[in-house]
Subunit: 458 residues, 2 copies
């Protein structure tokens, strides 16, 4: 039904003679894509960020290097001004010791691929050794009951649903046990939690990510386990429900550190006090190199600036490329940006984030009014020649969420999502898993959409 | 303008109340995708074909192994009948010696990454050593003129155009120098040709592929050179136009071999004498493992059979999965299939090929009448939830081209094309460059479209 309605609205707009774009816009968008695909710098920028700096969790020396690099890269892209926005960030470190072993019949041990979840407390130095019980998702705790959980390690083993086409939706469901598992299991008297990695791939990588604690619930250590490891453990538990698990982790939360968002700006030619934000996040998990999450989004945002400057475009509104700090485990950069925008009374007419990987773009999701959504969709014919066809979906990035709460129309680049969770938060989030053209098409799509927003408003 | 017209047609169809599908079709398609994504066998089949059999050029022992494997795989998928269609195929072999060297100042030599083009004759054992001249595309020969070409090696260096979004279109242009280069250059008195690899990636892989000779033109040896090698050579030639090139190749054409198409069939429940073909090609270039070209298409076609059988579906029309032989250098399998279809008076109502890689599907191109195209497009709402939205483009696969000439509506699965030419015809066309979900979505898309065609005709 939705489809029918959608098409009718589109035709009504067309028949009513409302022209929401001009022939020249189509030519401009072609120029933007040609520039990105012929002279793009996003790929070499990402090479540097991933391979010379590498993983850069908030508070780390690498995160600081990334700030300095982004400042320089935005300058080189030709931004009129580049500035920093200071924010304090959590500083969690993984530590040297990290191991998980299954112990069968009190003698046979098997080392399993685990990694501490971001924010977890350490185990005692000698580790925690206890019986392990499997549950499926947070609801599995209630099913099993306190008597069977108390004094044990809980193994959350809900897989991501492979039949969900948009993988972020499957992630959204499965990730709840990662975020809430330690808090919930602690209420049932668990000693620690081991959480199945959020991925649709059967592999040996633990997929880390942030987890939550509450001040009113006892804190217990939490790690993730690779899907292959989880499948093995689950099978073993079917044969023998007396398996013990030994978890040792030396991770810790250090005092907060000073860090920064990096902002590069092209001043608007007609309405310089109206801002359009395009951004990604500069921090990444420490396990990999942060190539797809979210080096891509950062270099694509910087590329928007470079494309405009290379083509000599003079946008009517001010464009800001923002490399946000601390998306992964705190969102402090996003909050700070929004706070300053409010304090400085800056009128933001749109914010676009790229934080869903470097893959071929398919569209833009958005959290906007129906009228704005209709306007975005009226531009679809301009984007379809580039494979960017979907303007229907709701949603936007987490760094710009605080802007959304101020009423700013927020969007997110929507790349093909099939490969994202193969690499997500693992040691395999590396530059080699980024395709140059796919990355460039994403940057060009954002540059093109920003052109339209800058020309016509939203 | 096209967009306006298209949308108007769509609405006229909708307003006129013509319902071209039912609610139950949507549920059936969901079942098909769920089965592919939950219990799919295409990925493990491709693992076997790529890694246990490997590269399988027509006439090779591996091609014969692939025939035997495909027969077995179709049986295992549950085909009602599986049979072979014999055809004679060319048998070209690369030979042990294959090298290309630039010689600067008659002393400094640099080995370059080259590979014989498929079908090329050998050089004399001692090689061909001559001055090398660069031209851009076939037209470059005329620009340079016979006097500057005679007695030399011609270096065709037209790159694929990176600004063309659909990479197959860029390929279609650049590949002309690969196919026709040796014939055309020989007319100008060239001794051999070195052709820039058809890819948008800057890498060290020579990308082979078929080349042509004419009985009326002297045959000269032809090789491809990696893009990095081509760029290096072009730069050197700018500094020194007296560079010599030494080419040694021991490839040869052996007598033709007997080979086979493999056909697996599900007999139609209501109209068994109406056939729907779904296929890919079993042969591949010898340089790689034929994972994306076109192991993917073969295992996806077999998967169509498996999905129908696993779900207990009874299609009205007969479905044939065909693993075609000899697409890469002769097309004999496709010709034979079509010949037999005509001879046996089989009514083919549609043929779908998958030969554009294992990447996330975006739509189906087709060579059909406008009425059939409109019907296909009316099904778009059923496919959009799976990211399959584009039914506009013209084109279909080369194995089914002979069926098209008989008037059969022909289609091709249209995966995302951005990564295809990174691997195409190289040593990097390996299983590791295939993503399981992307592959499965392609197979499911074909199974779903075939369901619609089988239910409603075209």
């Amino acid at each position: 039904m939705t489809k029918f309605k959608t098409s009718l609205i589109a035709v009504i707009i067309m028949l009513s003679g409302v022209v929401t774009f001009a022939q020249s816009d189509s030519a401009m968008i072609k120029k933007i894509f040609n520039e990105a695909l012929s002279n793009g710098k996003s790929y070499s920028n990402l090479d540097y960020l991933s391979n010379k700096i590498g993983g850069r969790l908030s508070g780390s020396p690498q995160a600081q290097q990334a700030v300095e690099w982004a400042f320089k890269a935005m300058k080189e892209a030709g931004a009129d001004t580049v500035f920093l926005q200071e924010c304090m960030v959590p500083h969690w470190v993984r530590g040297a010791k990290e191991s998980g072993k299954a112990i069968i019949n009190s003698k046979e041990t098997k080392e399993l691929p685990i990694a501490a979840l971001g924010g977890s407390i350490a185990t005692p130095a000698e580790g925690i050794t206890a019986n392990i019980v499997e549950v499926i998702g947070l609801n599995g705790l209630e099913t099993l009951g306190k008597a069977k959980i108390k004094g044990k390690i809980v193994f959350f083993n809900e897989p991501m649903d492979p039949t969900v086409i948009e993988t972020f939706n499957a992630y959204g469901k499965a990730v709840q046990q990662r975020w809430g598992g330690a808090m919930m299991a602690a209420k049932y008297g668990a000693l620690a939690v081991v959480v199945r990695s959020c991925t649709l791939t059967q592999d040996n990588f633990p997929h880390t990510g942030v987890m939550g604690y509450s001040d009113t619930i006892v804190k217990i250590p939490a790690c993730c386990i690779s899907t292959n490891g989880a499948n093995w453990l689950s099978n073993e538990l079917k044969k023998d429900n007396n398996i013990k698990f030994q978890l040792q982790m030396s991770c810790q939360m250090l005092p907060e550190e000073r860090s920064y968002n990096v902002v590069g700006e092209i001043r608007g030619s007609e309405k310089p006090n109206e801002y359009i934000v395009v951004g990604g996040h500069l921090d990444s998990w420490d396990t990999g190199k942060g190539a797809n999450d979210d080096g891509s989004g950062v270099v694509q945002s910087i590329e928007v600036i470079r494309i405009y400057k290379a083509l000599g475009l003079k946008p009517k509104r001010t464009i800001r490329a923002v490399a946000f700090m601390n998306e992964e485990n705190g969102g402090r950069g996003g909050k700070k940006y929004s706070l300053l925008a409010k304090k400085n009374n800056e009128k933001h007419i749109a914010a676009i984030e790229s934080d869903a990987g470097s893959f071929t773009p398919r569209g833009f999701s958005s959290d906007v009014t129906p009228a704005v959504k209709a306007k975005l969709k009226s531009w679809r014919p301009l984007f379809e020649p580039y494979g960017v066809y979907n303007f229907d979906r709701d949603g936007s990035g987490s760094d710009i969420n605080p802007l959304k709460e101020q009423g700013v129309p927020c969007l997110e680049l929507m790349p093909d999502s099939q490969r994202y969770f193969a690499y997500h938060h693992t040691a395999d989030d590396i530059f080699a898993n980024v395709n140059k053209r796919e990355l460039e098409l994403g940057g060009a799509s954002m540059a093109a959409l920003i052109w339209m927003i800058s020309e016509y408003g939203l």
